[in-house]
Symmetry: C2
Subunit: 205 residues, 2 copies
């Protein structure tokens, strides 16, 4: 779903949700205006209104958005109430940090297990998640009903890892390996190349 | 510089550079066409041509781009030959993984040191980088001439950390804390919220 929304708008949806969830729940903010949201997040007010229109939650003139309803609309838009299972491949430094990170549950996603080829790691748990041998990738993905995967392997192993994940039924991949991975048309990929992002920032100075 | 380029085009520049650098250097690929680049990276050919036009490197009809010149143009565009120094705040799991990651040098960036408030970490080195007390943030940024910073602290500490970094002369921030940070107008920020990216992927299924 959500295919008609511009990618940048989609990327802001979790930002709105995080912000609205962070507000005090003491009844002082039953309504919030697009202007207030825009100011808090450093965005343009027109942009905020356009983005939030995709959720189907209507703001009321001079009053704003009913906050609880807007949160529910954003959660529905991001499909947060549809529980999804994810796996991680590559339990090195970055992979281990992600396994220990608790933030996925805020979005209805459970990071179920990791796969690694290091015999010293296989059989242990990291962040409470079991580390399975890479040879059990297909079986493990199916066991946990995983549709999402995080790739945190070295660059040279990323493409093969992606292909094995797709064969195991994974539908979307978050790739931290600093290399472009190619998948068949209907598998979604977001690449997060940390060094490249720092380079982009540096080039903007 | 580079202010006239659309953000999505800028984000693809390191991808082109990585790809061109990864090709064999045996003389078999002195020229490469926009079509070949597009196919390898799963992008549209027109888009590739538009993006690469920003570098000022001209492709030759029916021949393609001179590869070495295109790499040099991308490096110049991304200011890779201007050495820049970066610091990291928050040497937890993710921060430690980033300190140990060697990929920044590919972009002319040196991650010089880390700051943390954990006495057990201060005074140690992680990935060969010294961990300094957070109380020395201003002094440390200035000592290393840092203009870039990575924030890898918990969400509740991110805004204050950003403000202290800006006071210490930092001009651009890569923020991994899952919260929007606000800075004054001329400081650039890229937010990388890992869980939010996974949620965006999940919502696209």
């Amino acid at each position: 779903m959500n295919r008609d929304i511009p990618e940048f708008s989609l990327q802001r949806m979790p930002i709105y949700l995080n912000y609205l969830r962070s507000l005090p729940d003491d009844g002082s903010l039953n309504y919030i205006s697009s202007g207030a949201i825009a100011q808090a997040l450093g965005l343009g007010e027109v942009l905020v209104r356009k983005d939030l229109a995709y959720t189907g939650c209507a703001g009321r003139p001079k009053v704003g958005y009913p906050r609880v309803e807007l949160i529910a609309a954003l959660e529905k838009f991001l499909c947060i109430n549809d529980f999804k299972s994810a796996v991680l491949v590559g339990a090195g430094g970055l992979g281990s940090a992600l396994l220990a990170y608790g933030g996925f549950e805020n979005y209805g996603i459970e990071l179920a297990c990791a796969f690694d080829n290091d015999p010293a790691k296989v059989g242990t748990t990291i962040g409470g998640k079991p580390v399975l041998p890479i040879s059990e990738l297909d079986e493990g993905c199916k066991k946990y009903g995983a549709v999402l995967a995080i790739i945190a392997v070295p660059a040279q192993a990323a493409q093969q890892t992606a292909e094995e994940l797709v064969k195991a039924g994974i539908k979307a991949i978050l790739n931290f390996a600093p290399v472009q991975i190619n998948t068949s048309g209907d598998v979604k990929v977001i690449n997060i190349d940390v060094a490249a992002n720092l380079a982009i920032l540096a080039s903007m100075l």
